[in-house]
Assembly symmetry: C2
Homo-oligomer: 971 residues x 2
Amino acid sequence: MDAAELPSVFSKKGFYGAMMEWAMKDEHFKTQLFRFVDVLPALASSSEVARHLQEYLGTEEAHLSPALRMGLKAAGGASWIVGAGVKSQVTAMAGTFLLGDQPKEILRTLRQLHDQGLAFTVDILGEAVVSEAEAEHYVRRYLDLMDAIGPEIAQWPHSCKSNESSAGPVPPLNLSIKLSALYSQVHPADPDTAVEQICGRLRPILRQAAKLGAFINFDMESYAHKNLTLRVFQTIFAEPEFARHPACGLAMQAYLKDCETDLRGLISWARERSRRVTVRLVKGAYWDYETILSQQRHWPVPVFARKPESDANFEKLSLLLLENTTAVDAAFGTHNVRSIAYVLAQADRLGLDRRAFEFQMLYGMAEPVKAAVLQLKCRVRDYCPVGELLPGIAYFVRRLLENTSNEGFLANKFSKGVSRDELLQDPRRLVVAAQPEPPRSASGAETRPFRNEPCTDFTLGLERDRLRAALVELRRHLGRRHPLVINHKPVQTRDWSPSLNPANQNEIVGYAAQGTTVEAEAALAAARAAQPKWARTKAGDRAALLERLADLMRRDKAALSALAVLEAGKNWGEADADVAEAIDFCDFYASIMRDLSRSRRTQWVPGESNLQHWWPRGLGVVIAPWNFPLAILTGMASAAVVAGNAIILKPSDQTPVIGARLMDLFMEAGVPPGVVNLLTGPGRQIAAHLVAHPQIDFIAFTGSMEVGLKIWETAGRTLAGQANLKKVICEMGGKNCLIVDSDADLDEAVTGCVASAFGYQGQKCSALSRLIVLEDQYDKFIERLIAAAGSLRIGPAEVPGTIIGPVINREAQQRIQAIIQAGQQEARLAWQGIVPNDPAACYVAPTIFTGVPASSRLFREEIFGPVLAVTKARDFDEALALANSSDFALTGGCYSRSPVNIDRVKNELACGNLYINRSITGAVVERQPFGGFKMSGGGTKAGGVEYLQNFMLPRVITENCLRRGFAPTDE
Amino acid sequence: MDAAELPSVFSKKGFYGAMMEWAMKDEHFKTQLFRFVDVLPALASSSEVARHLQEYLGTEEAHLSPALRMGLKAAGGASWIVGAGVKSQVTAMAGTFLLGDQPKEILRTLRQLHDQGLAFTVDILGEAVVSEAEAEHYVRRYLDLMDAIGPEIAQWPHSCKSNESSAGPVPPLNLSIKLSALYSQVHPADPDTAVEQICGRLRPILRQAAKLGAFINFDMESYAHKNLTLRVFQTIFAEPEFARHPACGLAMQAYLKDCETDLRGLISWARERSRRVTVRLVKGAYWDYETILSQQRHWPVPVFARKPESDANFEKLSLLLLENTTAVDAAFGTHNVRSIAYVLAQADRLGLDRRAFEFQMLYGMAEPVKAAVLQLKCRVRDYCPVGELLPGIAYFVRRLLENTSNEGFLANKFSKGVSRDELLQDPRRLVVAAQPEPPRSASGAETRPFRNEPCTDFTLGLERDRLRAALVELRRHLGRRHPLVINHKPVQTRDWSPSLNPANQNEIVGYAAQGTTVEAEAALAAARAAQPKWARTKAGDRAALLERLADLMRRDKAALSALAVLEAGKNWGEADADVAEAIDFCDFYASIMRDLSRSRRTQWVPGESNLQHWWPRGLGVVIAPWNFPLAILTGMASAAVVAGNAIILKPSDQTPVIGARLMDLFMEAGVPPGVVNLLTGPGRQIAAHLVAHPQIDFIAFTGSMEVGLKIWETAGRTLAGQANLKKVICEMGGKNCLIVDSDADLDEAVTGCVASAFGYQGQKCSALSRLIVLEDQYDKFIERLIAAAGSLRIGPAEVPGTIIGPVINREAQQRIQAIIQAGQQEARLAWQGIVPNDPAACYVAPTIFTGVPASSRLFREEIFGPVLAVTKARDFDEALALANSSDFALTGGCYSRSPVNIDRVKNELACGNLYINRSITGAVVERQPFGGFKMSGGGTKAGGVEYLQNFMLPRVITENCLRRGFAPTDE
């Protein structure tokens, strides 16, 4: 192998060689280069290519090292910094790894491999499947490909050595399939439907494969799909029709901590059914992604933290496979010579024929390794992705990353000249020798007591069972009366208002007491009596109350989610996120309060101590909406309370039962009587009464602009006997906008837009309402968008896989339907979903309008429902102008891969929360302090470090420490 | 000396010994102990003593080390923790250093010294002289003492060896005088008056001394009085009457950096006039005080930073004195054996008789040293303070500090057992060997770019000349017209309003243009056009504008002060402080803006960048009052502007010329046109128009409650077309309260209350208005308070020594006079000052009401004039209740030496700025962020780190950095 020529990808010659060498030397350049390569196939013209090249690599801001800049010039940078040339260079680079799209080219390449003694498996590359139409299309492509190449391959004159196993010939036509491409609506909470749908799409492929004598392999993708893939495999190949044919296999990822368990399970399954399965053991290609995603979600990281651990596990599982060749066929997917040597040594030890198993390597990579392994009389199969640069870009970039990684075997061997001894070291020794994980980067190193509550992983059956049980349990107690709570005492009222399930208006979730101004006054008196003592309670003790409340919510998580499902019509994921956010608010504000309770020295002055600290404001009323019935109510209430205030909770009339539940939990957590009081009832009377009341010091409000402005105005008036200017913490509506740039990654833009616009039926202040699409990609984007929206599952929120449920109540339903009706005068109704025909439920068909004029009501007024207005923009200037042409400024977003346009959005788009290249909803406490300005609110940020200050007043204490000319040094 | 017994103060036996030993071991205990000793003489009863003992030393909070706590117990702590016993113990301790008050006791002690061969000088201890009555009383005490002891001393049979100089006998009666006790109104800006007054009080004393053949020495006190003392000395002893008699001398402090210059000057003076002067060279006793005070003020520290430097200077100046015995007599005030040995060695070298000079040491200290020096045939004089524990407490505590200091020679020699070699080391060697000064304590170590502008030191003649010249120059340009400024263009108006000098209503400082709503609209249009570009200007550039503005104000400091003197009626110090504060606002907000402009990572998340930053709000109007005509206007304007907003300046109708001046400086500093616009004119029309305007995003207001509430209400209404909810930054009035506890240090309380109540004629939002005095010290306190108030100098603000000037205008004068008139129905008019009879000036006689009921208007309503309402409180509970019985909560204060009461005030007194044991006015930027709540304001803090956030909106940018499963580590 050492004598052979360098693999082409590690040659330092030419454009590719120079790029890769620099990328390995400079992390920033590598990032910029790969990002440029990533966007490249999406660029329509040479001038666009040149612009992006300039933005990524040509500017001062690129922070290229001077040496690198010099190098670029020396390498004749000037000549290749020209659009068209670059695109063809990169396409040529990609050709190293991709087989193209045309059957003819594909067959030509496969035949070459065949003639070299290399077997192959063919993988069809594609963009992400975001709709059912795309999934169907993918199935079609497989069938077409098999038809196009199968018959010819069957007629090739000689057989390939690599297809001659010790047990006999194996099928020359071998296909790799990604199950994620077969169904666009995989839902963690509903694996059953996913299995059913995927199996349905697989059957024609398997039939065809059986007919052609082809081999079908299931690729393994992200961890989120792992169990699903295993289940589909074991389901479909247990079906009588496929119990013997086609030949089949499955990839397994050694970097997963639970790979061994899965592998042992699969071997047992194969053995029991006598169904031979080829297991392709790989290390795994999504390490960064899995690590980042699970860290973002605070889920356990499923992959081993260090590369040698994965290598060691690969060896361990290799042995397991070799020991079970009676049940399964082994395929080892690796370029690592140490891993290969280990397999061979163990096979020899076990007395296995070298043709009893095979090696798999990637097309275009590791040529000397393949040659060496073939020389050893082993079987080698090339993994051959077919497709053009655009659909293949993800695969291509992954290869570039692999070839520039510090940990990749190939780069170490062929580019970095790492010694043979090092390359062949036992990975287990490296694991033992490894240092503990290095601390995170500076900004991440702070040990902070606060940590976000993870959302529930509904891919776990246990979690699904728990919520299902909670729904059952809740149903047994529906329809109870929930009294007011004043000074911890339940207060009955004359009137009671029913709270209805949005998915079934005949189901009464509970009855809410209807307070009047009499009870409002009583609640105020209770709060007033309780507040001074609470204000003097140590901040640490007040924080501890919130932490207990968080613990209780954690304990009751499923029950609270169930309540949000039935009372607010939230689907499982949204309901769970609502509870998690409520928990976060408690824990976060507790931690912030602990910080704030430490007086801050304003300035160091000898002989004088100057400390600033915070005082509670006094009495407040908390007026919450129904759309985050637990989270927003809890957030405002917990902030007010931990700051030392006493409050009156006024939950929404739509979700009073959740409000009552929060009151119970506050009491259980040990809040002193009177500090929190519950006052359900007609907002127009009791909330208005309290807002105007001279004894109210602050109002925390989240809700509509109309009510918010009224509160703002009322609070401006200072009445006789009023102690303080009234503070209003005011979060109102939004008319949020997303720009889809002409170079956006459409896979991501489509899913992000659909989730932002239709999540919780658009009933979020942060929901996407105005979508501005640059004209270059407009048609393709809209087509995919509508297809994706049309694939969303609609139904009662309690059904686990439901994405779109009913809107909150009949009134909202009618109001939104009227808006849709009227909207057709203003714009083109491009798409409308189909909702179940259930008169007891408050469904609104999700709707997309296109060609929406900036002057229209559809474009300007908040709808708070599943209605998306799309407008085409000529250029980015117009897109920004349109985006900013709104009375609101809450959330906003942009999908773009142009650094310059991203910067412009960051600098110019008026909104409180801006999201780049992701959905614009789902702000997380601490991570995305939430709130906007203009008519969206007063500029406060819920879940931010400054939020608590709204509920307090700063106070500075200056103490002269100098007595008789002497001041202690410690004051 | 080593063979002699330990000096009594270093004995480790008994109560005193134990206390001092512990104090040396534990800094915290030392602080607590000395603070307890400090308050002790002021305590009226044993139970009060016991309470304070418990508060200082008996609680867990005292943080005594466990060993110390054990030690306290072991030493029979239980027995002495009883009030009366402790007081007598401490009085006995003090008796070691003080001679008592009665002529008989004094004579007995002096005779003992005389018989031991020790000469003496007598110093009369006293409380601080806070009024002219007290100064007169002090003079009387000197005269009385001389009469009481002089004749008897003259008749003592033998002379004392120490009074036998080589040049003949020196007067046995030797008195030391502190000039600060002779005049209560020393004003830095007016040394002439002080010299005149002090000389007037000195003459009878000198006459009596001449008659009795006594020697008069001037003690040297704080650095602030140093030049004055030198000048008085050289003035009065140049008067023919005193040109030869009495014998006289002066103390000089070697720790002062300019001591050598002063000493050489004095020697020349003595030589020229052939007036023999005894120079008592000391090291100096106020090192901590001088260091702390100059650091607080950012003035150059006048003393050497390190002890060996002072020791070395002492030796250097000792030699200078010995070389000049032909002109001056030398007295060396030191206990340091090395210093003494140096003097003796140099005297020997110069061939001087050892009786040609004397040593001076303190009574009760360093007995073995005195004995040894006497044995060497030298002359020794004891410095003998006479007085009881209460007036002597400052002196006593200073001795305790000296005896427990780490640097004192005596403690090192007699307590710490430092070796002879070390004790006798050449201080110059220590200076060279010394490390650079250690960095300040952790909290002070931060290097912050912001540094407060020092107030001008008017003790410097140069500074006085500069302001005097500026006043002259200003007078040459009075009466000009000051147009509006819109978009940098001067705008003339039809009406012009004169601005009058409060001290002379016939003098027109200038004419202010009177804008109308037409110009208001024009200004708004200019601001609107300019703001977007300004918002996009880099924050660093906006900050640089403010820094240039600060530099221009520094350049024009005297001219701006002169304008404040003439237009606002501020005295020199107040005017200078106003300008310094304006400079501080610019520099501070610039530095804060630089900080805020760096986006803050909200949370570390892999694969996602989350950054919070701040956006300007838009357009604002700045409505400022006249009482800090430059500082408050500049503060609000600079904050608004540096944050990226465009504004309209609306200065007060009373001080439009200063407003116009600020506008000029903004333009000179380079603010872009339209970003700052000047709109003078009738507030009721133009300000109201702007406040209600839908294009105004924020209002920064400082002024009266009435106007403030009106603005708050107007801003609450959101008009059609309005972009944002209006933000009001609102600072209103106060009715500020100070509690004088029964154990307060009255010296400090009297001066602090007078300054707080009558500074700038009470025309500060922070001014003291309600004084609550505990009944135990009530009578004594009120007597001293009225005497002190009565000593304040009243006149035109431009006269350098003026403390009380006219109020702002005729209307205010009449309004306040009416309040005083009406107040006499509610309370007792206890005192009223006498103002110049000048009908052209707007004087209001400063007034003190006593017995003011909590329900009265005098107690409840803001007066904004020199009127103080005093109320007596039975106990501290009542005092706190009275203090909190107010609609306002701006500043507050308490003079107390009870740790428990201080804590209660800190926890319970409702105010934005609380001051303990100091005056309640004069908040300094950054050090005391200023602002209150209740009807005093919205809880914003001008000059605090959070202030700028009021002018901005938070914005969070979330960027998905994960592309193709890869995220760079640096994002």
